[in-house]
Symmetry: C2
Subunit: 341 residues, 2 copies
């Protein structure tokens, strides 16, 4: 058995571990146009099209909590998270595979509910549930989703490719999924401390942020808009880790820097209300709150103007700079905070 006194993963972090892993496998094939390091792997399967594959694992107690997440919503969410990576490459999802590791306490009804959500999400994203695997688990329910998609070779957008003429844009609003989670965790705590086991919290004032946490929607609509307007962003990523880490990844891959305006970052009023109630900084929700599944992209200003003329759900938050490795953020007061990658 391996030495148990080795370095902890927390010492080198998730990115450090990915770097270690990238070194480990030497075999390369020309068919794989892009391997580790983008939203999806890119494989050349015809003269005109790339195939895209991406896979994610969701662990009970880590990515989802059965005490406040109904099975059908978990099913829909894991599909949205997986296809979001296909959209982030400007691609179209075609098929998904779903693997489950199921503990004994999970019944047939629960699995059916889960697949109801999976089926509904597959219909929404027009991709076919095409297989997967079933096994047992001693403790947590574990769900792995693989999404397969396609994109024209002329239409693919990578994390890399941002240039200094580009504006930096995001879809939707940021931090709301985290705000929803904060509310759900607070209500769970109330429920656990209460004597009334059937207490139903009133979540109406938080309907928007709770929905963003429980059933986020991948941005199929914006990919459709790009296609309709014949627009192709220079670089793109989906916001799954949080605006700052995902922006830094985009800039690192592009070997550029970013200058963003804090006051321009789109934040919903309900997200602000949650942060106020929690006595927390709403800008941190927007910068570091993950799971928004919005798209972050860069494109020349002219292209962005064309886009925002016909599509309202896009915000320009800054511009690409030549300061490779540096993200600068100008606060509302005018001072500039610098983050190094």
């Amino acid at each position: 058995m391996a030495n148990e006194t080795g370095q902890n993963i927390s010492d080198i972090g998730r990115n450090g571990l990915i770097q270690e892993i990238s070194k480990s496998s030497a075999f390369r094939t020309e068919k794989v146009t892009r391997g580790i390091g983008d939203d999806a792997a890119v494989i050349s399967t015809s003269d005109t099209e790339y195939s895209l594959i991406t896979s994610e694992t969701f662990v009970e107690g880590v990515e989802f909590d059965l005490t406040f997440m109904p099975f059908h919503q978990i099913g829909a969410k894991v599909i949205s998270a997986a296809v979001s990576d296909i959209y982030a490459m400007n691609g179209t999802p075609v098929a998904v595979l779903v693997n489950l590791a199921i503990p004994n306490r999970v019944t047939v009804d629960m699995v059916q509910e889960l697949y109801k959500g999976i089926g509904m999400a597959c219909s929404d994203y027009e991709c076919q549930l095409s297989g997967g695997d079933l096994t047992g688990s001693h403790n947590a329910l574990v769900i792995s989703v693989t999404a397969f998609g396609e994109v024209g070779k002329n239409n693919i957008v990578y994390n890399k490719g941002a240039s200094e003429v580009d504006a930096i844009c995001v879809t939707g609003d940021l931090g709301s999924a985290l705000a929803g989670l904060k509310i759900l965790l607070r209500e769970k705590k109330h429920w656990q401390e209460s004597d009334d086991p059937v207490m139903q919290p009133d979540l109406t004032p938080w309907d928007y942020v709770v929905k963003k946490q429980l059933v986020p929607v991948a941005r199929k609509d914006i990919i459709g808009k790009f296609s309709e307007l014949n627009i192709k962003p220079a670089a793109m990523i989906d916001i799954s880790q949080g605006l700052l880490p995902d922006l830094q990844r985009l800039m690192k891959e592009s070997e550029k820097g970013a200058y963003i305006y804090q006051s321009a970052i789109p934040i919903d009023l309900q997200t602000r209300d949650v942060a106020n109630e929690m006595k927390e900084d709403v800008d941190k929700y927007a910068m570091f709150g993950g799971e928004d599944f919005e798209l972050l992209f860069t494109a020349p200003q002219k292209m962005v103007d064309k886009l925002t003329d016909s599509f309202k759900d896009i915000t320009i938050i800054g511009k690409v700079t030549d300061k490779s490795g540096i993200t600068e953020m100008q606060s509302a007061e005018g001072d500039v905070i610098t983050f190094e990658h």
Copy 2:
């Protein structure tokens, strides 16, 4: 939250659950040539080629045991298991994605060892590690592997397609992976009951079966042979659940029956020795022992003769019949046991 008093999954079984799941998702796309129900999903990505995708999940304490399986061997085994499904469609693996859910006790060294095995297996099978996902886990280490492969549209082999002129063939020998597991579990028990924590069991007499359990090899060689001899089996599956369940699946998909000779089933001498030591029936190891990752296929007798002339590691175990749903097995004594699908 869903009702916890519902039907248990054990009541309807794995196949029952897969049937329930198949009903749940209505969306279909023409691009998916074959979805749920074969070794891999089949997607039409060019005029001449299909893309194949398959995904499997391996849970610590269910599919693997860290007390007697070194990390690098686990890494190699999960890749073999995944690409085996690509070979079972007569395809060639191109890329794999590996997702890990990692508990705190797993160190960087251990993850590196795991990826060493993954990297070596990827080199052996000439496929590129192209991405994946990393997350945390409260208890078990969970590994999900997705394999992506390709096959010419004229060369694809499905579970369905067996016809009454076909012989039934298997590669290698059966039941040895289960025999290896029995030995490893016995030695684990000895070790747990012993006062000597560094006791090293002598596994030399069981080297073959232990190796079949720890580092099974997917049958890339036979797929190469099919191609070299310009032979295409009528129907094929990899033996992951066990000879009988996998043969029944092949026959069910083909709407045929099988007549097999028990005395023809290839069983290694070491596997027989293990069954003797355990006072168990070695035929049950061969019929129901999973994880052999050998290929089970049907082909016309003439084709099989051509194959066995130049490739020794293939055994004819019986023939396809018109008795759809029925597997008959003739024992060494001449009596016939019937299994209904």
